[in-house]
Symmetry: C2
Subunit: 137 residues, 2 copies
DNA sequence: GTCTTTTATTAGACCAATTCTAAATCTTTG
DNA sequence: CAAAGATTTAGAATTGGTCTAATAAAAGAC
């Protein structure tokens, strides 16, 4: 289920602004910045303000319907795939971002001796390398 | 070898300011923000300016003597352990950050079918959970 | 040593991303 | 419809970080 469907299922109040933002973020593999969300939302609703975009993004994050991704470039990105656990693979050449769905549970892969008594909940992995296109040049 | 020793070994020009910053960052497991580096540096050299701190941090990063860590909280952190590859384990309760040195090479652990033709160079892993202290409360 | 050149430091202006504020506008409910 | 509540808004404010242009310090040449 894609973001906008999940929001409808939850019966979240969908104003025109929220709907447009949710539609922009409805897709299987998106990693947009707030700026990019604003631009795309404005294509459908030119009057929408950045404050609304930030308000909405933060609400969705709080609801668990959007995941904040830091550490890819310097801008925060928003990932609407909160359904399937996954990591990210970034090309150092062109900054393309792909989702990866590893078999292995990396959180569990941390040896007990390295856990320092923590109860380890999750592991977020950022893979980086060169994509096929950037390997040639 | 700790940061300041490596800089001496490289014969990097050590002004009073650079020395103080390098000393602040000399330790086995540090993950300071620019702000924290400035505060600690000012304990030894109160006149030091934030511009110098940022200049120096960026130079050290460029030299490969300091690693930028994004994605832990919202502030960039600087990690002087560029010698041993490692990942980070963060407590969601108290934000404590620990280094972990896993046996496994996570970059290699990404299945070929999930590589999308990339040449995968590295994997940065951020483990999160609750530390022994925060598990009780 | 002094002159010259290079390098480092600085205050403060600047910038970009994000949050805050307080007013205005919708929605819902009685 | 009126009142209460939620949402949106422009623009101000804040924050983390960079840039600029001037000053200071160090290194090299003689």
């Amino acid at each position: 289920m894609v973001l906008i469907e999940r929001l409808r299922a939850r019966q979240w109040r969908l104003s025109a602004q929220r709907r447009v933002i949710a539609e922009v973020l409805s897709g299987p593999s998106l990693h947009l910045t707030a700026e990019e969300v604003t631009q795309r939302a404005r294509a459908a609703l030119p009057e929408i303000s950045v404050a609304t975009v930030y308000n909405t993004l933060n609400e969705l994050v709080g609801m668990g319907e959007l995941r904040e991704i830091d550490g890819i470039g310097r801008l925060r990105r928003y990932d609407p795939n909160t359904v399937q656990p996954h990591h990210h693979l970034v090309c150092v050449g062109c900054d393309r971002i792909l989702d990866v769905f590893p078999e292995e549970d990396f959180a569990g892969a941390l040896e007990p001796s390295e856990r320092h008594g923590f109860e380890v909940h999750r592991a977020d992995v950022l893979f980086s390398g060169r994509c096929p296109g950037c390997r040639e040049g």
